[in-house]
């Protein structure tokens, strides 16, 4: 199955797939911290199970961690108790600086293994019918963590060969981890490429899109190897938070089955700009609406979005980015209810 087939099938049945980027709020259900879940796969999987049982989304990702792959390469990462992790130093200045990292096997890292194990456990713990999702960082964003985002931005103009080489290295790391997630049972993998927001469409195609495409192909190849027995092929989503409105066409060219876009982007306009077999995933504001708004605001925002997307079968209702850990659970409930309440109006199908 492809993601667009699932989304379109739901639409033909008169409903929408609903999949907020939940992860972190699971800490509320297990009385734990983000840090505990990051380090403990058993707890992490239980937090996700609790979310799945309570909210019954169509697709559930594990907790987002943009620093995971960078940390596995030995970059210093700060893990606050109840905030996202972040990378503290960006040591790569020239191509030769990559040598030290080539010696490292990212799969040997304990946290990488913990996330692979979380995925395995999701297979046992999530109720049937809920797709298991995992995240990998995008190669360009990992390059930004290796070099520093501003240096990377400058280098896209001044040292394009260096950027290509660092991205190429990053791609290898991402692929290795992504393949393991597929083996562990991931049905959907979202590639997180936020640092690419600052690129022009041309630069995106050259530096980020090409590598994203290769990652997507590698993941699909890995899953088709497995598909002979399990009968399922991995579905891929490319996620960029922030204003990626100018990149929609270029993102679609990567071959990702879904594009996950943030609340800054006009999703209905984006739907008119991508082929019908590319699913748009989004894009309720995770912070202003879901985190800080009340239930009325959530319901209004979801209904407004559902209405705007009414003519488009290739849509999954989600949030623009992952939800803050302390998002009121009542808001998530309202989000799910409003999403489930949608019924296709006759005559709107194209």
């Amino acid at each position: 199955m492809r993601l667009d087939q699932l989304a379109v099938a739901a639409y033909r049945d008169g409903r929408r797939m609903v999949a907020p980027l939940l992860g972190y709020p699971g800490v509320q259900l297990t009385g734990s911290t983000i840090r505990q879940n990051t380090f403990n796969s058993e707890l992490h999987a239980r937090s996700l199970q609790a979310l799945a049982e309570r909210f019954r989304p169509d697709l559930l990702f594990f907790m987002m961690n943009l620093s995971l792959e960078a940390g596995a390469l030995g970059l210093p990462v700060r893990y606050p108790l109840q905030e996202s992790a972040s990378v503290e130093e960006h040591p790569v200045r020239r191509a030769s600086d990559l040598e030290q990292f080539r010696q490292i096997d990212p799969l040997a890292d304990a946290l990488i293994q913990a996330h692979i194990d979380t995925m395995r456990r999701m297979k046992d713990l999530l109720p049937a019918g809920i797709l298991r999702g995992g995240y990998v960082v995008g190669p360009f964003t990992l390059a930004g963590l290796l070099m520093g985002a501003t240096s990377l931005a400058l280098a896209t103009v001044e040292q394009p060969e260096l950027v290509t080489e660092v991205v190429e290295f990053a791609r290898g790391v991402v692929e290795a981890y992504g393949r393991e997630l597929v083996k562990a049972g991931a049905q959907v993998i979202a590639i997180l490429e936020p640092t690419a927001t600052f690129l022009s469409p041309a630069a995106f195609r050259k530096f980020a899109g090409r590598a994203d495409r290769q990652v997507i192909q590698a993941l699909q190849e890995e899953s088709s190897r497995k598909a002979a027995t399990a009968g399922e092929e991995v579905m891929t989503i490319l996620h960029i938070c922030g204003d990626a409105g100018h990149l929609v066409e270029a993102m679609a060219e990567t071959g990702a089955q879904g594009l996950s876009l943030d609340s800054d982007v006009d999703l209905a306009a984006a739907a008119r700009r991508v082929p019908a077999d590319v699913v748009l995933v989004g894009n309720i504001d995770p912070v202003a609406v879901m985190g800080a708004g009340d239930q009325e605001a959530v319901a209004a925002a979801v209904e407004h979005l559902l209405e705007a997307m009414d003519p488009y079968p290739n849509f999954i209702l989600s949030t623009g980015c992952d939800l803050p850990w302390n998002t009121p659970l009542a808001n998530v409930e309202t989000f799910m209810r409003a999403g489930r309440g949608w019924r296709r109006q006759a005559g709107h199908d194209k």
């Binding site: 905030e83 503290e88 985002a149 501003t150 931005a153 103009v157 600052f198 630069a203 912070v287 803050p324």
Partner: protein, 218 residues
Amino acid sequence: MSAAGQWDVLQQAIIDGKTAAVESEVRRLLEAGAAPESIINEGMIPAMIKVGELFEEGQFFVPEMLISARAMRAGLAIVKPLLRSTEKVTKAKVVLGTIQGDLHDIGKNLVGMMLEGAGYEVIDLGTDVPPDKFVQTAKEQQASLIGVSALLTTTMIRMQDVVRSVEQAGLKGKVGVLVGGAPVNERFAKEIGADGYAPNASAAVRVADSLLGKLKGA
């Protein structure tokens, strides 16, 4: 002064972000007798204003803007030492940084480069900067402005502590606090008592200029 075309080569080199071309053109202009302060004020600064416009119009993206700002900086480095001490070398000093808990720095760096391009001396404290550090540095360096960047809603509220800290240091009205970053808006800036807000790097220069005027008037 000579024809308006005098600055064309320099300005195009800045817009194209060609550091070497900027340097050689600055040297040529100096040899041809152009005054250092004119090279800055009439040659370079209008070029950076143009770069800011191209960014706001969506023709330039972050990398292009950073490259232009860097090329301009290379030119400034040649011209600045030649200014007589009676001439004002910089408009004012700005202490700039990303607020504590936040490591996003692309926007902050862009703002810093545009401010430099517009004639400010920027003291960049980097990311994850404690509120007190801004004020302490402003005091030590006799800066007129503090610029604070925030990209995370979870930590943006700490910008308020910068404003408070300025008040506690008795610097209110002497040091202006400028705030920005994706989740920050005019209303939030007012609520926390900041002196100025700008939605992007070229607007940041305009707001800094007008704020500076007010501070001097005070």
